[in-house]
């Protein structure tokens, strides 16, 4: 898993690739900590090479969503593959996030 975060004022762009599993979800959580604690309103997640997510990763996605929603913002997920999108659907996440 590789993840980086790019802050553009009130907007943050996360780029994530590879497998987000129980082993590395702690790393990802640290990476996105500025979004959880800062004043970022809108988040964009770039998922071009994002292959795998387990419940620990889904939990972080939900935390990001909750914190930006509390500031009136939203989370946009870009280029997520169909398999992962299926997992998001299964968890009832699809109506909560925006997808492009």
């Amino acid at each position: 898993m590789e993840a980086k975060i790019e802050q553009q004022g009130e907007k943050a762009i996360i780029t994530i690739s590879g497998r987000l599993d129980s082993m590395n979800s702690g790393d990802f959580e640290k990476t996105v900590e500025p979004i959880l604690t800062g004043n970022t309103k809108d988040v964009e997640v770039n998922c071009v090479n994002f292959e795998y997510i387990s419940s620990s990763g889904l939990r972080i996605f939900l935390s990001i969503l909750k914190s930006v929603k509390s500031r009136g913002g939203s989370v946009l997920i870009r280029d997520m593959n169909a398999d992962l999108r299926g997992i998001f659907d299964m968890c009832g996440f699809s109506p909560l996030f925006k997808f492009e």
């Binding site: 599993d21 129980s22 082993m23 795998y52 387990s54 939990r59 939900l62 935390s63 997992i87």
Partner: protein
């Protein structure tokens, strides 16, 4: 007193009240009828009384008046005799007045100069003044009697005449009415009149005597309706019946009555005088053309009647009160044992059957009730005693049946998975007797690589069937231990059962020996239902010879059959309690419905197949009673399979170890790449749970078995940590908005969503979690 009138609660008060109401109604009806007839009688007698009185009075007056007129008519002959000296006339009139107390005054009035020496006026007049009689000459220029009514009218009409009453001014100085009779000489010429006055005071007295009731009064009117006699003296000669009629609200009533009186009619009427209803009687005094009337207030007429009614009413009321008190007290006395009975009944209801009953000395219904009550007590004691013994006997039987049930259930293998270490077999069974014990049976065991199994159904149900079931099962175990052909085992069991089968019970059997390494199935059928075979997406009844049930004939030639089961094929055996399960409308579950529900279920675990079918049967049966024992035995043979076993530590880094192991396993069993992600995700979720929670922070290990058979992947995770059943974990609500969503709880939920089947078992202090997923091979 308050208690006395508690109508609703007291039988006595209520009954008394009903009696009083009925008696009261009878009283009122009787009194009303009696009053009505009394009223009519009083009314008619009052009428008659009034008529008689009136008639008597008028007759009296007529008699008096005619007496006067006759007397005058007789005396006139003396005067008409021309030889009567003029002065003798004075003596004559004095004598007439003196001799007739009815006559107030008497005069003889002559024509002018009848006696030459007496001049123009000559009219000797005698009248009563106190007790003496005064005589005077009446005529003079101030009292020109020739113009007077009493002189002029008889002369003009040439007939005798009664005048209307008038005030005799210059004469008797009182109100009088005068009778004038014509005097003639020998030649029949008019020479004057002889008169007699009657005083109206006298008439008044007579009329006022007409007083049959205290407030009644009478009056008389003259020809023109003028009052001649009236209790109110001011009305006399000043008012007429017509003038007082004008004071009434409706003058026509009095006017028409006045007219009738003036016309000389007689009769009666009802009028209102001084706001009181009065009876009005009237009759003429024909001789002088007057009319007499009597007014009687109705209240007066019926005074006695109303007084009597009042007394009768009071007596009746008192009588009713007396009846009420009497009834109430009598009823109370009669009903008092009922209260004791009620109290006794309550005690009996609480189980005190020997409660004392009230003593009844009378020999009536109350005594009968007491005897019946006593009898009931005795019978209850008896009945309760017999009920108790029946109940205890029943309980004993029930408890024995419960024990029998437990023993029977203990005879059959009931622990599943039955062979947790074997990846080449998935077997599951269920036996559900209709009563405590039943005649269905199944059994299985493994010897080497051979699975011996049997399913059977003893004819009948209950205890007799259960005994034979136990025998059959024992015979299966003992015979299969040394006989290796299914037909031999069946024949041996059959011969043993047939011997001494006096009850003619029989058993249908399906017995098989499955080679778990090759899938070869040797079997023998003895009249049992065709099992369902699920293989390669087809669902059909398993073909076999029917033969006959065991226990019927000695040495029946049962035959062996052999077939090769496909890898992963399912043999679903059952008893007829399944296909013949009855719904509330007595419809059978049926073969077709069984085949339909099994469709597409070959990749289910055996346990799940049984659960699905039993749930469908339960739906069909609804609230109807279970009609027969219901047994299912389902076997999935997985002789050709691949499996790997990993032992992992409870460290997070093992997630990666498992991932790599699964990647290579997937490659070996040809799992399509698009299916890898969900399978890895599921397994990660499961082992992360074990790593983090199973050993409560202490180091530990756990096993993961990955296997594949007939395109079904089975993952078994076994740990010896604290008990945890993820299959029971409640699902998170995924319809909530982001703000309300729980952060955790998604892992197990995803596993249940992604896998076909999640099964948890706790055995030997181990958590055994089995995940299954059917795959579509490349």
């Amino acid at each position: 007193m308050k208690k006395f009138f508690k109508i609703r609660e007291s039988f006595a008060a209520r009954t008394s009240m009903y009696i009083i109401i009925v008696v009261g109604i009878v009283f009122i009806a009787t009194l009303s009828v009696s009053f009505y007839f009394s009223y009519k009688t009083v009314e008619s007698s009052a009428m008659k009384n009034a008529e008689v009185t009136m008639a008597k009075t008028t007759l009296e007056m007529e008699r008096l008046l005619s007496g006067i007129s006759k007397m005058v008519d007789n005396i006139k002959l003396v005067v008409e005799d021309g030889n009567l000296p003029a002065d003798t006339v004075y003596l004559l009139v004095r004598q007439i007045v003196a001799n007739n107390t009815d006559i107030a005054g008497c005069a003889v009035a002559f024509e002018p100069y009848y006696f030459k020496d007496k001049g123009y006026y000559f009219s000797p007049f005698a009248y009563r003044q106190g007790d003496s009689v005064v005589v005077k000459q009446l005529g003079n220029p101030d009292y020109d009697y020739f113009t007077m009514e009493w002189y002029q009218i008889p002369k003009l009409l040439d007939k005798n005449f009664w005048t209307e009453p008038y005030y005799d001014e210059g004469g008797g100085e009182s109100i009088v009415s005068t009778y004038s009779t014509i005097l003639r000489n020998k030649n029949g010429e008019f020479i004057g009149v002889l008169t007699a006055d009657i005083s109206l005071d006298w008439l008044s007295t007579t009329v006022q005597n007409l007083k049959p009731y205290p407030n009644s009064y009478s009056f008389a009117i003259g020809c023109g309706g003028t009052f001649i006699v009236h209790p109110d003296k001011d009305k006399i000669l000043n008012e007429s019946i017509f003038s007082i009629a004008l004071e009434d609200e409706d003058p026509t009533v009095m006017q028409s009555l006045g007219q009738k009186m003036v016309d000389g009619e007689s009769g009666e009427a009802k009028i209102v005088r001084d706001d009181k209803l009065c009876y009005f009687f009237y009759a003429p005094i024909e001789q002088i053309g007057w009319s007499l009337a009597m007014v009687c207030p109705k209240d007066d007429i019926f005074a006695d009647l109303s007084k009597m009614s009042q007394v009768v009413f009071n007596v009746a009321l008192f009588g009713l009160l007396l009846i009420l008190v009497f009834c109430r007290l009598t009823m109370q006395k009669v009903a008092s044992p009922l209260k004791s009975f009620a109290a006794s009944a309550k005690k009996v209801a609480h189980g005190d059957f020997n409660v004392a009953l009230p003593e009844i000395s009378s020999k009536d219904e109350m005594k009968e009730l007491r005897d019946s009550f006593g009898y009931m007590q005795k019978e209850l004691v008896h009945y309760m005693a017999s009920l108790e013994s029946t109940a205890s006997a029943k309980e004993k039987i029930e408890s024995e049946l419960r024990i029998a049930h437990n023993i029977q259930q203990g005879m059959i293998p009931k622990t599943f998975p039955a062979f947790p270490t074997r990846t080449d077999l998935d077997i599951y069974a269920s036996l559900d007797p209709a009563k405590e014990v039943g005649g269905d049976l199944y059994d299985f065991y493994i010897e080497g690589d051979l699975l011996y199994f049997i399913i059977g159904d003893v004819s009948g149900k209950g205890v007799p069937a259960s005994l034979l079931m136990a025998v059959t099962r024992s015979l299966f175990r003992s015979n299969s231990a040394y006989l290796k052909k299914p037909a031999d085992i069946v024949s041996s069991i059959s011969n043993a059962i047939t011997e001494g089968n006096d009850s003619n019970l029989f058993v249908t059997l399906f017995l098989g020996i499955l080679n778990l390494k090759t899938g070869e199935l040797r079997y023998c059928n003895a009249g049992h239902n065709h099992p369902v075979l699920l293989s390669d997406d087809t669902v059909s009844f398993f073909p076999m010879k029917p033969n006959i049930p065991i226990g019927l004939f000695h040495d029946f030639p049962y035959e062996d059959e052999v077939t090769q089961l496909a890898n992963g094929a399912v043999l679903f055996c059952y008893t007829d309690g399944l296909t013949e399960a009855e719904s509330e409308t007595k419809e059978l579950y049926g073969d077709d419905r069984l085949l339909a529900i099994m469709q597409g279920k070959q990749r289910y675990s055996s346990k799940r197949q049984v659960q699905v079918v039993l749930a469908d049967v339960a739906k069909h049966v609804g609230k109807a009673d279970q009609s027969d024992d219901l047994t299912i035995l389902t076997i999935t043979s997985k002789f050709s399979n691949y499996s790997e076993v990993l032992t992992l530590k409870n460290e997070m880094s093992e997630v990666e170890t498992l991932k790599l192991a699964m990647d290579s396993f997937f490659e070996k069993v040809n799992v399509p790449p698009e299916m890898a992600m969900p399978l890895q995700l599921s397994m990660e979720e499961v082992i992360v749970n074990v790593i983090m929670y199973a050993y409560a922070g202490k180091p530990g290990t756990f096993e993961v078995e990955l296997s594949e058979c007939a395109s079904v992947l089975t993952f078994v995770i076994t740990d010896s940590g604290i008990p945890f059943n993820p299959a029971e974990k409640e699902d998170p609500d995924i319809t909530l908005a982001a703000e309300d969503r729980q952060i955790g709880g998604l892992g197990v939920f995803l596993v249940k969503q992604l896998m076909d089947d999640v099964e948890y078992n706790r055995r030997n202090n181990q958590n055994i979690l089995t995940l299954r997923k059917a795959i579509n091979k490349k």
